[in-house]
């Protein structure tokens, strides 16, 4: 794979085919856990690790897998990986694990992961599949973090509360910016509003980019009609 192929894989995962923003996959955890930045980061890391490893394993075994039984095999691989990740979280980040609760085991049902196994890893060599897993996982994690930060800031007036669950130390409310906030943001409807705003923002940025590149094109000399 050449450098431009790598760049385009990365760009696809992070932006043009972002699992959350564009493909709208894995919305259940995305909407449910993003009430704080740290929760978003935690689930983002877990999903990234699972996606990376499932892409690797699916790509490595793709020669031996009959297409008739590929889906059960993907499910098997993904479910085992998620179980391992959950055990590791429980052992090393017990508070974060408690705070994410059922959403770690539920990564199994995140269709973004099966989608990458089916659409990419099963058809590509290990190298590109690892890059794809990394790019898609990072894209998803960044979105979770962005929505988490936004909802926490608007809804509770804090940022990075509970960061101790990841890096250790005293329990903290994080940076307290205002005391209390606009409650709606941390309730379920706030999750939908935040995602809608994020998608709208992405579309607006894309449109501006397109317009800019159109404007930047050299203009044809005007025909002299006068």
């Amino acid at each position: 794979m050449n450098a431009s192929g790598l760049m385009s894989r990365l760009k696809n995962g992070l932006w043009f085919e972002n699992p959350g923003l564009v493909q709208l996959l894995g919305l259940c955890p995305l909407l449910a856990v993003t009430s704080t930045f740290v929760n978003g980061l935690g689930l983002g890391i877990a999903t990234l690790l699972v996606l990376l490893m499932s892409n690797t394993l699916v790509s490595a075994t793709r020669r031996w897998i009959l297409s008739e039984i590929r889906i059960p095999i993907y499910v098997l691989i993904i479910a085992s990986l998620v179980t391992c990740i959950e055990l590791i979280f429980e052992a090393f980040f017990p508070d974060l694990d408690r705070s994410l609760g059922i959403f770690i085991p539920l990564i199994v049902t995140n269709c973004a992961i099966v989608a990458r196994a089916e659409l990419f890893a099963s058809r590509n060599a290990i190298g590109p599949s690892i890059i794809d897993g990394l790019a898609m996982g990072t894209g998803f994690a960044l979105l979770l973090m962005a929505i988490g930060a936004f909802r926490e800031l608007v809804g509770s007036g804090t940022l990075f509360s509970g960061i101790d669950m990841l890096i250790g130390g005293e329990a903290t409310r994080g940076l307290v910016i205002t005391d209390g906030g606009w409650l709606l943001a941390i309730l379920p409807p706030g999750a939908f509003f935040s995602l809608a705003l994020a998608i709208a923002a992405k579309n607006a940025i894309d449109r501006r980019q397109r317009k800019k590149s159109r404007d930047a094109m050299p203009r044809r000399p005007r025909a002299l009609t006068k």
Partner: protein
């Protein structure tokens, strides 16, 4: 000749299942010890907020007794009592009880009471109250529960054990009065139970593991 692909598929599936199982088993082996240690540490740590300012012997969780329903403590589920000692004489008792009539289901509360019947600390362990409103009973979100420290059945006298809106002595939470009411009632009922049992609580032998239930 459809037998062969089926056979091959079966073998592949079995092989991958075996590899995946081995992977999970290995991870489990490597993390097991840490996970058990974490749970124990979490339990010990979750009891601490109810014992602020007290000196006590370590190993509080070893003195656990489970009180199966029916009992006179709040809630219809099994309640848990930890006895706290300092140099082998009783100092306080910790109650894990269920406050009923929360806004969204039962609330699991940890209440510490010293031998004189004074509250040593209150800590909400588990709840489903509305984020931003009722959830301010959590120690991490606000210090609402601190107002109970040092209170007892004589401070205030019985009608005072209610929120101010109901003519009592305790602060409510803006936008939430159901949750505070439930917790205040649970504390009051626990104090009444403690008073009725007296020193007897410290004489009960430690529970056997078999009748454990309703915890966490």
């Amino acid at each position: 000749m459809s037998g062969r692909p089926v056979m091959r598929g079966g073998i592949t599936l079995a092989a991958i299942a075996a590899i995946c199982t081995a992977m999970v088993a290995l991870t489990f082996r490597l993390t097991e010890e840490r996970i058990i240690a974490n749970e124990q540490a979490w339990l010990e740590r979750s009891l601490e907020p109810a014992l602020s300012g007290l000196f006590y012997d370590s190993g509080v969780t070893e003195s656990k007794i489970v009180v199966p329903p029916p009992h006179e403590l709040p809630g219809s589920e099994a309640a848990i009592i930890y006895r706290v000692y300092a140099e082998d004489s009783p100092v306080a008792a910790l109650f894990v009880v269920t406050a009923r009539n929360g806004y969204a289901g039962p609330i699991r509360v940890l209440i510490g009471v010293d031998v004189a019947g004074t509250v040593t600390g209150v800590h909400v362990l588990e709840h489903r109250e509305t984020p931003g409103l009722g959830d301010r009973v959590e120690t991490a979100k606000s210090d609402w529960v601190v107002q109970f420290d040092g209170r007892s059945l004589v401070d205030p006298e019985m009608p005072g054990w209610a929120i101010k809106r109901d003519g009592g002595q305790f602060d409510q939470l803006t936008g939430a009065s159901v949750t505070p009411r439930a917790i205040i009632n649970a504390i009051r009922d626990t104090l009444v139970y403690f008073e009725s049992q007296g020193e007897g609580i410290f004489a009960i032998p430690v529970a056997t593991e078999s009748d454990e239930g309703g915890n966490e």
